[in-house]
Amino acid sequence: MRKKIASLLTACMLMCSFCVMSVSAAEAAPIQEMEFVQEESSARATNYFSGLTGTMNSYNGVQSRIFQRSSGSVPSNSKMTSVEAHVSVSSGSSPFYLVIKSPDGITRETYVRSSGYYTLDFSGVDAYGTWQVYIYNTGGVSTATANVKYYYQY
């Protein structure tokens, strides 16, 4: 009986360690990882590219590290619809601004208090090139990561 309990416990511990390892691996995934989803319609097709940021830290208003995401090769007339960020905020973080910057320099930001999905409207902005993501706050310390999807049409 004891042996059975011990082997059950070992199995549980192994499963837990696999879970932790897969989360770490996801965080360390290169930002070049890319997903494509395509929905064809008669007039326009919708597609997206996406990427994970690493840890973004801001303290007392200082800008975090900037994470970049390239569109890769896209149809020449690709125009954005929106950017959707799934933000994971570390516990105890001060609220902050999440900033998305387009390749031609157009910026939009949103105020983040807690983890969740945030959608930023970039309708009509050129999708082609390198996009940037970062945070900054207005006091205290903020830490977050984000999984960002860039939706476009062509």
Binding site: S73, V74, P75, T107, G124, D126
Partner: protein
């Protein structure tokens, strides 16, 4: 204020203080809300921030430099000739078009930058649509990336938007 601060650091500190004053009641902010009108991101060109702007405010056509517009058109045509309508995704060239537009709009007065960026984006769309319509005449099933005889692109004379300074 620290006397050893650079002008840019002083400007950032001033904006930081300004935002702090403005955000005194930021406990009222909800998740995902846009910043208060008057809030400034100290790290970006405020003229390029669309956060608190309506689309009608900046999605408008204005006269732009003819040479820049032609360079943008040539880049689009190159996409069609070399990659059947797909952009160059190589790290060396991926930002060529965006940098051309960005470097040009930086030379303009602040209030014209977003509209000029939008206008040059419309030049891209207009040129891509023109080239696509030529290809579709020859191959109605054509879609981006599908090979075609690129010599057909020289058949139609260009008929561009009149948007020059």
């Amino acid at each position: 204020m620290n006397v050893s601060m650079t002008a840019s650091a002083m400007a950032k500190q001033y904006i930081y203080n300004w935002n702090m004053k403005l955000n005194k009641n930021n406990s009222l902010f909800t998740n995902g809300s846009t910043p208060l009108s008057g809030h400034i991101n100290p790290y970006e060109d405020p003229w390029m921030d669309i956060t608190n702007r309506s689309s009608s405010e900046w999605q408008r056509m204005i006269p732009v430099d003819e040479d820049v517009a032609n360079q943008v058109r040539n880049m689009v045509k190159e996409d069609f000739v070399k990659r059947y309508g797909m952009t160059d995704g190589s790290p060396e060239h991926i930002d060529d078009r965006a940098n051309l537009i960005k470097n040009y709009t930086k030379t303009l007065p602040g209030e014209q930058r977003l509209a000029a960026t939008w206008t040059l984006g419309q030049v891209v769309s207009e040129e891509a649509a023109r080239l696509k319509s030529i290809i579709l005449k020859h191959d109605p099933s054509w879609t981006y990336g599908k090979p075609f005889d690129t010599s057909i692109l020289d058949e139609d004379p260009s008929n561009h938007l009149d948007i020059y300074v």
